[in-house]
């Protein structure tokens, strides 16, 4: 048997780890930067959350890894872990007050020491810090001892208070247009963070709802939906449809911009999902098709180049055709390549397209570094779609069509051929699948979706520039597929929401945005490596007996 270190050793180890994380957050400046941001105004700041949360989490993990301990052991181990962690910060206080660390660590400022000592000077500060560590450790133990239902409700309530307090600015801005509701919401917030009353309200509301929900048996949302009567089901779908249609009106301009971005990435994600997720062809130059869609739109509609001045709708078929053909052109030379080799060649293709649109040589036709301006916007009758909110509907229309196509293809003969190629190319060929036609169709179909995204993008900005066509776009699209779950269509939606919307929502974190974002991504991949919504296979045999019965019968 594997010998496990005793709970005390683990408490110290994890406590040290928690302490180091808190130390890191302090020394990169996050704690100080957020010390002015109140979660609950006048009571609790974001800075305090940042250095206390690691201590609490360390104690919690220690206890969770050692279940079934007696109550006294749990409290002592939790407190040991919390104490160890806080000792790291206390050590920083002691050292920092005697030695000037700022030469190397510019964020080790008196301000930081002030926060870490709770404004009480070094001596009392160190004692307070250690006391906080002990307290947090005891809380971690206490939480695990209360009944699960209450614990769940409490945790959710606390997380919600933190989130709502943190996202105060966003919520207030968005709710601005909600009429009477706006003034009500405004009441809950102070200039920074929630008011005490607001925090209590959010806590009670979320806690109450969670408590009620946790008392009910856990059910899969999809299953519950399927159990409803057809009338109820269509009503639910209708309600979702109405909400989706009203989103830009409810959320306002700032969020509509995010929605547009997310939709654009979903469009590309659905396309790349066919190439990478279904057919298993790792394409790192996917931005090329986006560029081709956008530039074709530019060339055909902008009066600036004097080539053609079609309307957006007239140019759209050409943009789609161009990207479709480009998909074929890329596909042809890489038919025999697999894996890493394919990735490198497609990467090169993406760069070639970017360099071509950037080049002086093609400047008369493609605009060079200046890009193309005055691109036509789609018009319906006399009405021009030109705001973020209006263009959202165009994205939505594209999304509905593209998602429908992807969904239909997934369970078709062609979709199965793509997946067979992904699983084992040689065998797929031996099953009568023509790998040339099948691969080319995957590239071309994926390309056309990206081309559509590019065409709408061009209309949104009314201009295209070479620098929007960089490698990072390809990587983002690929990442969102991986985060959502390879080959999964709902996964693309979730992946895009997380990957594209999150940085915008994390604006609260200012210059630490990408640090937080990176940490989120790493955590996500560690906890759900198969993606947030992994691909589910369709049940095709439709047998009545459960698999267990079939096993027993054998």
């Amino acid at each position: 048997m594997e010998t496990k270190p005793s709970i005390w050793v683990q408490a110290v180890k994890l406590g040290l780890l928690g302490g180091v994380v808190a130390l890191f957050l302090s020394l990169v400046g996050m704690v100080a930067a957020f010390s002015g941001r109140y979660i609950i105004t006048g009571v609790f700041t974001m800075g305090q959350v940042l250095f206390m949360a690691p201590l609490l989490v360390a104690a919690h993990i220690t206890l969770q890894r050692n279940p079934g301990q007696p109550r006294s052991t749990m409290f002592l181990a939790g407190m040991l872990s919390g104490l160890t962690a806080s000792a790291v910060l206390a050590a920083l206080l002691l050292i920092g007050n005697n030695v000037n660390l700022r030469a190397m660590l510019i964020n080790a400022s008196p301000e930081l020491y002030g926060i870490l000592s709770f404004g009480r000077g070094v001596g009392l500060g160190v004692v307070s810090m250690l006391g906080v560590g002990l307290l947090l450790g005891a809380i971690a133990a206490g939480i695990l001892l209360i009944p699960e239902r209450i614990r769940g409700a409490l945790t959710r309530a606390v997380i919600w208070v933190l989130m709502v307090g943190l996202l105060r600015d966003l919520i207030v801005t968005v709710s601005f247009r909600w009429g009477p509701l706006a003034s009500l919401i405004r009441q809950l917030f102070a200039v920074s963070g929630l008011t005490v009353v607001g925090a209590v309200l959010v806590f009670l509301l979320v806690g109450g709802i969670s408590y009620w929900r946790l008392g009910r048996p856990k059910q899969d949302a999809e299953k519950v939906f399927r159990q409803q009567k057809p009338a109820v089901r269509s009503l639910i779908l209708l309600a979702i449809g109405v909400v989706v249609l009203l989103l830009p009106l409810i959320l306002g301009v700032f969020f509509s911009e995010i929605l547009d971005n997310v939709s654009m990435y979903i469009l590309m994600g659905l396309g790349l999902n066919i190439v990478v997720g279904f057919a298993g062809l790792l394409d790192l130059g996917y931005v090329a098709f986006f560029a081709i869609g956008a530039y074709t739109m530019g060339i055909l509609t902008s009066p600036e180049l004097g080539i053609a001045t079609l309307t957006w709708w007239q140019a759209l078929p050409f943009a789609l055709l161009a990207s479709f053909l480009a998909g074929f052109v890329l596909g042809l030379p890489v038919l025999k390549m697999r894996g890493d080799y394919l990735a490198i060649v497609t990467l090169g293709f993406g760069e070639i397209v970017r360099l071509l649109v950037l080049s002086d040589w093609l400047r008369p036709w493609l605009g060079g570094t200046q890009g193309i301006q005055r691109i036509a916007q789609p018009r319906i009758g006399d009405f021009v779609l030109n705001t973020q909110q209006e263009l959202y509907y165009l994205f939505l229309l594209g999304l509905v069509i593209v998602a429908f196509i992807a969904w239909r293809l997934k369970d078709s003969r062609l979709g199965r051929a793509w997946m067979a190629l992904r699983e084992d190319e040689d065998v797929a060929m031996a099953m009568g699948i023509n790998h040339v036609a099948t691969k080319l169709l995957a590239f071309a179909t994926g390309a056309i979706f990206s081309g559509l995204a590019g065409a709408i993008f061009a209309a949104k900005l009314t201009s295209v520039y070479p620098h929007s066509m960089n490698f990072l776009v390809s990587i983002n699209v690929l990442s969102l597929i991986i985060i959502g779950g390879m080959g999964s269509i709902p996964g693309v939606f979730v992946g895009a929401l997380v990957l594209i919307a999150a940085p915008d929502l994390l604006r609260e974190f200012a210059e630490f945005r990408y640090l937080v974002y990176g940490a989120l991504l790493v955590t996500m991949m560690l906890t759900k490596p198969e993606g947030l919504l992994p691909e589910k296979r369709r049940q095709l045999e439709l047998h009545e007996e459960p698999p267990a019965a079939a096993v027993a019968a054998d």
Partner: protein
């Protein structure tokens, strides 16, 4: 009637002659075997027949139709299907989906059909699904259809691979060591199953085996390969007593010893 003819098939890899002037004829509705020690060229021969390799010399005829040098998917369309020595299923697809992929050559829907799913496509999918379920039952995998191929036990994976090969309605089925990794009772069961395939479906079967004992019971004709050459051919009894074969399997000198003991 002869279904498959291999005429003087030679395959070289650089200086190595993997197959040298192989002549094998497979009769319609027969169960025939190719045996030989490791590295004799058995799988290379299969790869030549199924279009993965193009032989340097010689012709392969299917129903007097020359299939030499055709791509693997074309060969499958013409009625040759195979399994692999190390099971090669589409692991992350369900059993039914594996079989549906096998039906690919007999279905028509393409990009447009797949998107719009018109009456003809729907009908085709429905029929394919019914047929897939039927094949599943035939190979004894009823109730396993919605399981991922990778989650099936070993013996069932072998059966599923055969089911997938059958789905393309082949005229000739090439089985590459179907009993590899099986214990004697499983091997026995598999041999019965192969005979059942031929009797029920009328599909011609060409089998590769490593162990001589296995094929003796069911083969009507056995060809023996050694170092890329055909060293013997005949009924199981003839092969068992052929000194060349004994030598190939047991080493030089063993044959004479055995013959003496027998005498």
């Amino acid at each position: 009637m002869t279904l498959l003819i291999s005429k003087n098939v030679t395959k070289r890899f650089g200086g190595l002659v993997a197959l040298s002037k192989i002549n094998i004829e497979v009769k319609e509705n027969a169960i025939q075997s190719i045996i030989g020690p490791n590295g004799a060229g058995k799988t290379t021969f299969f790869n030549c027949v199924t279009g993965f390799y193009t032989p340097e010399e010689g012709d392969i005829l299917l129903e007097s139709h020359n299939i030499t040098g055709l791509s693997p998917d074309r060969v499958t369309h013409l009625g040759v299907s195979r399994t692999y020595q190390n099971i090669r299923l589409f692991k992350n697809m369900t059993s039914v989906e594996n079989i549906l992929v096998g039906m690919h050559p007999h279905m028509k829907a393409g990009l447009i059909g797949g998107i719009f799913r018109g009456p003809r496509t729907r009908q085709e999918e429905k029929e394919a699904l019914t047929e897939a379920r039927r094949i599943l039952q035939f190979v004894g995998l009823k109730g396993r259809g919605d399981m991922m191929a990778k989650n099936l036990p070993y013996g069932e994976q072998r059966r599923l691979e055969i089911a997938r090969a059958l789905a393309s309605k082949p005229k000739i089925l090439l089985l590459d060591e179907p009993t590899a990794g099986m214990n004697p009772s499983e091997t026995h069961e598999m041999m019965n199953f192969i005979r059942h395939l031929r009797d029920e479906l009328g599909v011609t079967i060409l089998l590769i085996e490593h162990q001589m004992r296995v094929v003796m019971g069911i083969s009507e004709l056995i060809s023996v390969l050694d170092f890329g050459e055909k060293i013997a051919e005949g009924t199981p009894i003839e092969i068992q007593n052929n000194p060349h074969v004994i030598e190939a399997y047991l080493g030089r000198g063993a044959a004479s010893g055995l013959v003496q003991t027998a005498a």
